[in-house]
């Protein structure tokens, strides 16, 4: 109860620091999501309709990668971006960009694997039609993605959910630096370690509200668009 009223107070007063942290959370997760969608959706779709040896293994691998622990992703990205690592010259460690990269690595498999499932189902249905119309290769990938766009929003929301709630990877590659790389989840971790449990829980409630808002928005738009289409 204390946490709820704390969350309420946080939202009502919405001080500049909290707003900054909230905004960075959204920015990092949305950019990571965009990158993941651009890679993951075509990849998942292509894997669903193409035929080559090892395809089943690729799908299996994607599904397994969905369960990749964020800390491991954080560690791998840290080792890559560290000044002594292969990509150290980019100077990206402890920046929002590093966090975006880590989250993109984390959620691309999720979007690819889930969209693969959606498109595969669709493919069972449309395979012959598409074949007879001569729609193959890249055109088929695009056609399936457009056709399944409503079902794919769920895949994208799943990716967003994972990104916005994730702490293990971003705290390693971002460093939880105040006014630079502190996001909602790392702020919650910090307040917990300071023993400010009510504040931490309050921040958690704010994050949950944000997630709720985004989901409501996307699902609302989807319903509206679907209704218009079939009206």
């Amino acid at each position: 109860m204390d946490a709820l009223s704390e969350a309420f107070r946080l939202i009502i007063t919405l001080d500049a620091d909290l707003f900054e942290i909230l905004l960075l959370s959204i920015r990092v997760s949305l950019i990571a999501l965009a990158i993941s969608a651009i890679i993951g959706l075509p990849l998942g779709s292509w894997l669903a309709i193409s035929k080559f040896p090892g395809r089943k293994f690729c799908i299996l691998l994607l599904n397994a990668l969905m369960g990749m622990p964020p800390v491991v992703v954080g560690l791998i990205v840290y080792l890559l971006l560290s000044r002594s690592g292969p990509l150290g010259w980019l100077g990206l460690l402890y920046t929002p960009s590093a966090m975006i990269i880590a989250q993109a690595v984390l959620i691309t498999p999720i979007i690819a694997a889930l969209s693969n499932q959606v498109i595969e189902n669709l493919h069972q249905e449309y395979r012959d039609t598409f074949y007879s119309m001569g729609i193959t290769g890249r055109r088929a990938v695009v056609a399936y993605l457009v056709d399944a766009r409503y079902a794919l929003t769920t895949c994208i929301l799943a990716g967003f959910g994972r990104a916005i709630a994730e702490v293990g990877a971003v705290i390693i590659v971002g460093g939880n630096i105040d006014h630079l790389t502190r996001v909602m989840t790392t702020a919650i971790a910090l307040e917990t370690s300071k023993g400010n449990l009510t504040l931490a829980l309050g921040l958690g409630a704010v994050l949950l509200s944000l997630s709720l808002l985004v989901n409501a928005l996307v699902i609302g738009v989807r319903e509206y668009a679907a209704k218009r289409q079939y009206a």
Partner: protein, 265 residues
């Protein structure tokens, strides 16, 4: 693909300002609020923008060895001196100190409050069968704690998971665990004073000379790490040991208590 490249290019363009440095430091200094108080004063004086990454001392030193920091501000003197001797640091200066304390449940089942010295306090904990929560993360506090067990001639690892609980986490997380389990914990005083989830735990043992907690500052060596912002790092390090910096550290208080005592040599 084009979008991706544009995105990355946009992200890259916002990088590396001239007078920005990364300080690899400890959770104790961050959790106590010292940086929130000190850094704005420092930035106004020198123009150097400081970004603090707060991890355990062991990890901070490793990160700095990977060249992922411009300045190291930690509390484990032997490890710090090794860092400098191996060429990773330019020099090491004492910066400030406070002390470690043993906290535990008010009832004090092991009666560490009646101990003559810290060695006896640890012996009492071991003999009473009470729990002890350790950082277990190679941090400065953990290194200190291990050296105290060693001095007491006790090998706590034999009781690992039974009475000796290694959390492998930061000071705050370990305090949360310790307080919940009515365990004893060795903590730096600053983190304890600012810790908000004390419940019925309190300081039970303090004051032994071997509980001294010295913080040091080391600019990372630019020969080892060419990416280091050497000038800004030195400006920052020099400001901290200057009269102004030392006075600012001494003036920082929480609940009317001074947390860090400046002692630059």
């Amino acid at each position: 693909m084009k979008h991706l490249i544009t995105c990355i290019a946009l992200m890259l363009s916002a990088q590396t300002l001239a007078d920005t440095i990364i300080v690899q430091s400890t959770t104790s200094t961050q959790n106590s609020g010292l940086y929130d108080y000190l850094l704005p004063i420092q930035e106004k004086d020198t123009g150097v923008e400081v970004h603090v990454v707060a991890v355990g001392t062991g990890q901070a030193i490793k990160n700095a060895m990977h060249c992922d920091g411009d300045v190291l501000l930690v509390h484990a003197k032997p490890a710090e001196e090794k860092f400098v001797t191996e060429g990773y640091g330019d020099y090491r200066r004492d910066l400030m100190y406070n002390d470690f304390v043993i906290i535990g449940p008010e009832t004090d089942p092991a009666n560490v409050g009646g101990a003559q010295n810290v060695i006896e306090a640890l012996e009492r904990i071991k003999q009473s069968g009470a729990k002890f929560a350790s950082r277990g993360d190679d941090s400065g506090t953990h290194k200190k704690e291990r050296s105290l067990w060693q001095a007491a001639g006790i090998d706590p690892d034999t009781g690992s998971g039974q009475w000796y609980l290694e959390t492998g986490s930061g000071m705050g997380a370990t305090l949360n665990t310790g307080v919940t389990l009515s365990a004893y914990v060795l903590t730096d005083r600053a983190t304890w004073i600012t810790f908000a989830n004390k419940q019925d735990a309190t300081i039970l043992y303090e004051g032994d000379a071997s509980l001294f907690n010295q913080y040091g500052i080391i600019p990372v060596n630019a020969d080892k790490c060419p990416s280091v912002n050497q000038e800004a790092a030195k400006t920052f390090a020099q400001w901290l040991v200057s009269e102004t910096g030392q006075a600012a550290i001494g003036a920082y208080q929480v609940d009317g208590k001074q947390l860090f005592f400046p002692n630059a040599n």
